[in-house]
């Protein structure tokens, strides 16, 4: 067996989500290579070379500057075919989820999304994946010779470098698909934040609709103090109290930090689906019946507008 890990890049470096996909490859226990796609990928390729991969395959071209599935999929499919890879692993991020199905279609491969575990029994792979907002876990077998998976960052710890330097090899850039000529990249409006990414944060301070217009005013000081990322429930995002990219849940980001603060969040199924794997969950809500208390390690029944400032004062005492 032979695994191809598709790196996800951000500003020319590997995203941490890539490290989780590498952990997946290590758990399968088969040789793996890493494919780095983009323009100006030198740093990412060098970083990727330290994880014990057989090869770092680099597709570097001006036409690959912007992450468009119509341009990336032909590259991935060609590399997968040429290298005889049996498993292609992408990150279960918006990047991986946009790209992987097009690759699967090109390779005639089955695609298991958002996998949270893998079993390798004598070369036979079974993928564990959440369904019904994480209320059931299915064990999926991909029936095709080549298998695509997207790897959930929250369930596979980030791989640490294993030392050494894998050989780096340039790959030929295939001719673009006709579809590529019918999509134009216009811009990426990155959310401006000094805070860590939700997928990578050790601590997340998340707020719900109860915060109303005071969402940032109340949560930012706590997040700043803890060096935390800020998250939000869907209700808070839908009501416009928090921007959409902060949404944690089935339909937003799936996270698993060391410490998760759910503040003024009632705990709808869809939200729980995105944060239940957090190592320690703290819930602050004035409604003692809120479902969030059923998953919280520490629950505090108190009005958040008094509890959060008090919490900040208490933490500052050291």
């Amino acid at each position: 067996m032979n695994i191809l890990v598709i790196a996800e890049l951000h500003d020319g470096s590997l995203r941490k989500s890539t490290h989780s996909a590498i952990t997946f490859a290590r758990q399968v226990g088969a040789p793996f290579s890493i494919l780095v796609i983009g323009s100006g990928t030198q740093n990412a390729a060098t970083d990727a070379a330290a994880f014990g991969a057989q090869k770092i395959l680099v597709a570097d071209d001006a036409s690959l500057k912007d992450p468009l599935a119509e341009r990336y999929a032909p590259v991935v499919a060609q590399v997968a075919k040429a290298g005889g890879f049996d498993v292609v692993a992408v990150t279960a991020s918006s990047y991986g989820k946009d790209l992987a199905p097009r690759v699967a279609a090109k390779l005639g491969a089955g695609y298991a999304t958002d996998i949270s575990g893998v079993k390798n029994e004598g070369g036979k792979l079974t993928f564990k994946r959440p369904t019904y907002a994480g209320n059931a876990f299915g064990y999926a077998e991909v029936q095709t010779p080549v298998k695509l998976v997207s790897v959930r960052q929250s369930e596979f710890a980030a791989a640490e470098p294993s030392g050494g330097a894998s050989p780096v090899e340039k790959v030929a850039i295939p001719a673009a698909d006709p579809a590529a000529s019918r999509v134009e990249f216009i811009s990426l409006e990155a959310a401006k934040s000094e805070r860590p990414d939700l997928g990578e944060a050790r601590v997340i301070v998340s707020g719900g609709r109860a915060l109303k217009e005071r969402f940032a005013e109340v949560l930012d000081p706590l997040a700043n103090l803890l060096g935390a990322a800020v998250g939000a429930s869907r209700a808070a995002c839908d009501a416009g109290y928090a921007p959409p990219e902060l949404q944690v849940g089935q339909t937003g980001r799936v996270v698993a930090p060391q410490l998760y603060f759910a503040i003024g969040i009632s705990g709808a199924i869809q939200h729980l689906a995105g944060m239940k794997s957090s190592k320690n969950i703290v819930a602050i809500n004035k409604d003692p019946e809120a479902p969030i208390f059923q998953v919280a390690d520490y629950g505090l029944v108190q009005d958040l507008f008094t509890a959060v400032p008090e919490l900040i004062t208490e933490l500052k005492k050291g």
């Binding site: 089955g110 695609y111 209320n135 059931a136 019918r182 990219e245 410490l259 998953v295 520490y298 919490l311």
Partner: protein
């Protein structure tokens, strides 16, 4: 503009915690069926793109809804017809005989016959959570895609400018039609969809529209055809098979703390996370 919207019924996502697992299988008996919320958003988006929002009864184009399922799923199609879709197609199939890839291949055959300008799909079904049919279909058709759309600005039958909700921000693309677009939650906000028919100052109500009683009656007369899966996708072999299901591991019961001071103490000494 002619828009095709694939539509799936799912067990009520608000009751997903009532999912029973018996003998390694998911048992959905007793659960209420609803249209997949993202697909409802896709229908709403299709309606907004093919009307003048100030006169939504007159369609400036055509919206066709398609579902895969047994006879009962025609209720889901009729509901979409009642909100304004023009006609419907049901592909007769059982849920257990389908996977995302088979649905995408069958949809390809329908698209080739219907020749829509646009396929608008939900980004994922909230039961299987697989998030792949739209992208697979785009590749099978050789069309461009714009996934996870939070905003769409129509440039008529030629192109769309789509604001894609990606991790950490918005990625704006222009897709030249025909194309596949999958929609995210915020596509149904009041000004997320801009068509060439609706005055730019028009604001929609937040969310999807409800059908009036008259429209529900009228929808019974709208065309609904049944197709056979085997005619659309002769190779019915599934690419994904499930060997079993299990419930998630239960979290250990937590404790309630009485004061902020006690909380901080526990986080420091017990959980050791701050």
């Amino acid at each position: 503009m002619k828009v095709l919207v694939p539509l799936k019924r799912v067990s009520d996502p608000d009751n997903a915690n009532k999912i029973k697992i018996a003998g390694g299988k998911v048992d959905t008996t007793g659960l209420e069926w609803k249209p997949n919320p993202f697909d409802e958003y896709a229908v709403e988006t299709a309606l907004r793109l093919t009307e003048n929002g100030t006169n939504p009864k007159k369609r400036e184009g055509e919206v066709i809804v398609v579902t895969f399922g047994p006879k009962e799923t025609e209720m889901t199609l009729r509901a979409a017809l009642a909100t304004g879709a023009d006609r419907a197609i049901r592909v007769d199939a059982k849920d257990e005989d389908l996977d995302g890839d088979l649905v995408a291949r069958a949809l390809k055959a329908i698209v080739e016959k219907e020749k829509p300008d646009l396929v608008l799909a939900g980004k994922q079904a909230v039961d299987g959570d697989s998030n792949q049919v739209g992208q697979l279909l785009a590749e099978y058709l050789g069309w461009p895609q714009a996934t996870f759309a939070g905003t769409i600005k129509s440039e008529g039958d030629k192109s769309l400018v789509v604001g894609r909700e990606v991790d950490g921000g918005t990625l704006n693309v222009r897709v030249h039609l025909p194309a596949v677009v999958t929609v995210d939650l915020r596509i149904v906000a009041p000004t997320s969809v801009t068509s060439i028919h609706t005055p730019p100052t028009h604001k929609y109500a937040d969310g999807v529209r409800f059908a009036a009683l008259m429209a529900i009656m009228a929808a019974k007369k709208k065309p609904l055809v049944e197709l056979k899966l085997a005619d659309l996708a002769p190779d019915a072999a599934l690419k994904i098979k499930y060997t079993g299901f299990e419930p998630p591991a239960a979290r250990k019961a937590g404790v309630k703390v009485k004061t902020v001071g006690e909380l901080v103490q526990k986080l420091k000494t017990e959980a050791k996370v701050i």
